[in-house]
Amino acid sequence: MAVPAHAGDVRLRIVDGTGAPVRDAVVTIHTARPAAAGSFKFPWAAAMTQRNVQFDPHVLIIPVGAVVTFPNFDKVRHHVYSFSKAAKFEIKLFGRDESRSYTFKTAGAVAIGCNIHDAMTGFIKVVDTPYANKTAGDGATVIASVPAGRTRITVWHPRMRAKDQESTLDLDVTAGDLSKLITVSLK
């Protein structure tokens, strides 16, 4: 993929009202020129594994149309489901080393759970922009090589106190790196 000139890294740090870093917040940047579906990929696997009766990763970012596999590494069986608008599906009881997959065709947040294990929660953020990443334990993330220009930044977190658990802000990206601290309100 051609990298346009005058692109810069956008560095964001997400904190909550108390100043504590917010982990697993998904930051997406929409540029003036939207990316075509299927034109980009993320450098991480589109897989939501079940390990130690947990979804791993907790938050997975995938592009629209991506096929996500749900490999089970546990000795027990899981019944993965989602009632989210973006993707309603159900992968009924499947066992160890069994893998199922589901194709996410609509952008949005998909909350997935296990009908057997209530404690298992995972989120798949289906995005329609290549400029997306999630915050690490220190609340920081870097979205590299964002072309300069007017952008809309969206911050999503499953516990965010906002409609659809996300908030947006418009930001002009100029040549060079950009650093910004964003404060969000969590439940």
Partner: protein, 766 residues
């Protein structure tokens, strides 16, 4: 006197009443204290109990509510976790949702089971729910409320919520039980006392009551009753509108429940007071009865009776009673001693005059039958001499000896000592005639005895008065016996005399004369007559003898023979003699220098130590030279004490006065006196002169007297010369002076002056 004053006097006067009142008051005070303490204790106990019940009630409510919430929550969570239900929620399948909720509601018998979505949509609520309530509920659920009291409109529920997670929370399942009157009544039954539990909002709280989880109850007055109110915040869905559990209990009614107990206590206290009254009255009576008995006994003792109290106990009261009895006995013993002392003579132990009088009264009151009884009064002869010469201890010892003799003689009869050396015996004639008894008594007393190493021969005279004859009362008897004794002594010692009525008359006469004589000096009834003494050698009057005369206005001229002994007996002779000396000296002052005045001095006067100064004063007042005063004394002066008499005579002589021996020849041993004292003159007794004419021997005696006087350098005066023959003999026999009727009777001072004037003329003529 009004009732209070009478009661007051009774209480003050009665130890029992005092003690009873004291203990009753004490017990009443204790009872009141106990009642007060019980009331305070009960009140505080009731308050604590109510407060405790309220706290327990609050906790019970919490526990019950928590259990309900748990049940509701559990049920809610079961449905909320159901995949099919979640699927219906996720797909917004309302009919399925509502039927599931209906099913749950009927299965669990719930008032409400409904779903609230995150967006605020409510499904399955029975009844109408206002938008405000719905939003409030949603906000509470969104803020995490899971259980508590849920206020929807005016209805309250115990409610629990369960989130519907798919897996993110998309809404909440709310289950609720109505908190209606029945539910509150059920709750109320869980506490021991009626707490009237109510759940109210903060705004509905009574004024002044603050909700607090642990604070004590607040006391409020509600329509006149004391009410304890406790407001306890309870879990509430809406944090902004906290719900409060209000518990109330009437303290007034709770305390009223204890009122019967207090009344019972008061009744017990009253009974206790009555028991204390009765008990302390009994005890006080036990204490005061012996005191009253002691008081009564003491009164009897003070009235002279003999009284003892019964000693019933061995405690202090018993000891007091014993001491009292001992005291009464001791007082009686002392009274007997005092009575004995009052009725007996301390020296001899014989009865005294008082007891004699009592005894006589007793004896007189008894019929003596044929026996004759008499009172013997004794007087020791010359007892004074024993005291004077041998001393009083010997005198007392002699009296004791006499007392013993009299007691032995009386042989059980009554013997008394009347004082001094006077005794009395009551004797009857059962053992012999009274004369014989008197003689024997005199002999018994007169036996010689040895006292204090001295041999003494006592003697006594006895006067006898016969009881019933010589008097019917003790006073008359004693007086008459005394009169008889006086006569016995007068008649010569060592004899006895019976009383005769004449004695009484004599005594009366003597007494009257005594009184008259006493007044005679004051009234000027006394006068002096002067009998001249004629000097045969010089042939003129050389002296006058002053002779006392008493001219009583009624008695007339009283003879010196009658009144001089009386004056000597009574001591009147002292002032009379003094008057005589003064009067004589005063009169003699006007006479010629060679004429002396002669004054008789009686034995009583002579023994009076004031005689010298009387003479000195008379001489100095009259200015009469001492040599012109001649004192005439009789031999009797020498009988008692020769030495003392001589000493007195010498001291008189030293004054310069002359001393003449009167009545010479009548005494016992005149010659020895002549040798002892250089008399200036001897007066020859008239008995010799009267014999001169009939007896030669009388002449011889005169001759020898004049010879003796001449030899001793003394003048001689012959008394009682009545005839010229007598004078001739006397002149012949050498007598220097004569005195008598032949020459002159006693004459008045005026006659003296005339006689002296005549004499002077004769002398001048001669």
């Amino acid at each position: 006197m009004n009732l209070i004053a009478r009661l007051r006097r009774f209480v003050l006067g009665s130890l029992s009443a005092k003690l009873t009142l004291f203990y009753a008051a004490l017990f009443a005070a204790a009872t009141i204290l106990v009642l007060g303490g019980a009331k305070v204790g009960i009140t505080s106990y009731a308050e604590r109990m109510i407060a405790g019940e309220m706290e327990a009630g609050g906790k019970v409510f919490d526990r019950v509510a928590a259990t309900r919430y748990d049940q509701l929550g559990d049920a809610g969570r079961v449905l909320a976790a159901d995949f099919g239900f979640r699927s219906a929620i996720a797909t917004d399948d309302k009919p399925t949702i509502e039927s599931a909720l209906d099913s749950l509601r009927s299965r669990l018998g719930l008032s409400q089971a409904f779903f609230v979505s995150s967006e605020g949509q409510v499904a399955g609520y029975r009844g109408t729910l206002s938008a405000k309530d719905a939003e409030t509920l949603r906000a509470s659920l969104d803020n995490g409320a899971t259980r508590g009291v849920l206020l929807l409109g005016d209805r309250r529920f115990n409610a629990a919520a369960a989130s519907v997670d798919v897996p993110v929370t998309v809404g909440w399942l709310v289950l609720g039980n109505a908190l209606d009157a029945r539910e509150m009544a059920n709750l109320s039954r869980l506490s021991a006392i009626e707490l009237k539990p109510r759940i109210v909002s903060a705004a509905e709280l009574p004024a002044g009551v603050q909700p607090h989880a642990t604070a004590a109850a607040t006391e409020r007055s509600v329509s006149g009753e004391r009410v304890l109110i406790r407001a306890r915040p309870i879990q509430s869905f809406d944090a902004a509108a906290p719900q409060i559990l209000l518990l109330e209990h009437s303290l007034t009614r709770a305390l009223a429940a204890y009122t019967p107990m207090l009344w019972q206590l008061a009744a017990c206290g009253l009974i206790g007071v009555l028991i204390a009254v009765a008990g302390s009255w009994l005890l006080a009576r036990r204490l005061s009865r012996p005191i009253a008995a002691l008081d009564a006994a003491a009164r009897r003792v003070s009235q002279g009776e003999y009284a003892q109290v019964a000693v019933e106990t061995s405690d202090e009261i018993g000891t007091l009673a014993a001491s009292f009895n001992r005291m009464v006995d001791d007082i009686g013993e002392r009274e007997r001693q005092i009575t004995h002392m009052a009725l007996h003579d301390s020296l001899t132990g014989l009865a005294n005059r008082t007891l004699l009088r009592e005894h006589l009264t007793t004896v007189l009151s008894r019929d003596s039958g044929s026996t004759k009884r008499a009172l013997f009064c004794l007087d020791l002869d010359n007892f004074k001499v024993v005291n004077d010469t041998l001393g009083h201890p010997t005198g007392d010892a002699l009296l004791c000896e006499i007392a013993e003799r009299l007691t032995a003689f009386a042989n059980g009869g009554f013997v008394a000592r009347l004082g001094g050396d006077e005794f009395a015996i009551v004797i009857d004639d059962s053992t012999g005639s009274l004369d014989r008894s008197a003689s024997e008594l005199i002999r018994a007393v007169a036996k010689p005895c040895h006292v204090n190493g001295h041999r003494i021969v006592p003697g006594t005279s006895i006067g006898i008065a016969v009881l019933g004859v010589d008097g019917n009362d003790p006073v008359a008897l004693v007086k008459n016996a005394d009169l008889a004794l006086y006569r016995a002594k007068h008649d010569g010692r060592g004899g006895f005399r019976f009383f005769e009525s004449a004695m009484d008359a004599e005594a009366q006469a003597r007494r009257q004369m005594e009184l008259d004589l006493h007044d005679a000096i004051q009234n000027g009834e006394l006068s002096l007559m002067y009998q001249p003494l004629f000097n045969l050698n010089e042939g003129r009057v050389s002296a006058f003898e002053a002779l006392l005369r008493w001219n009583h206005p009624v008695r007339g001229s009283v003879s010196p023979v009658d009144f001089i002994p009386l004056a000597e007996d009574t001591g009147l002779i002292i002032p009379i003699g003094e008057w005589v000396i003064r009067e004589a000296c005063r009169t003699a002052r006007s006479w010629p220098d060679h004429v002396r005045i002669a004054v008789n001095v009686s034995a009583v006067q002579f023994r009076n130590p004031g005689l010298n100064s009387v003479i000195l004063q008379a001489l100095s007042e009259s200015g009469l030279p001492p040599g012109r005063l001649e004192l005439e004394i009789t031999e009797s002066l020498f009988i008692d004490n020769v030495e003392a008499t001589l000493s007195s005579l010498h001291s008189l002589r030293a004054l310069g006065v002359r001393v003449a021996l009167d009545d010479f020849g009548t005494g016992y041993s005149s010659l020895s006196y002549l040798r002892s004292f250089p008399f200036d003159k001897i007066k020859i007794d008239r008995s010799f002169i009267m014999d001169l004419l009939g007896s030669d021997s009388a002449t011889a005696i005169i001759k020898s007297i004049t010879s003796l006087a001449e030899a001793l350098g003394m003048e001689t005066t012959a008394e009682g010369v009545e005839h010229v023959e007598q004078m001739d003999i006397l002149r012949e026999q050498g007598c220097s002076h004569i005195q008598g009727f032949y020459f002159s009777r006693p004459i008045t001072p005026e006659a003296v002056t005339a006689m002296l004037a005549d004499g002077a003329r004769e002398q001048a003529a001669a």
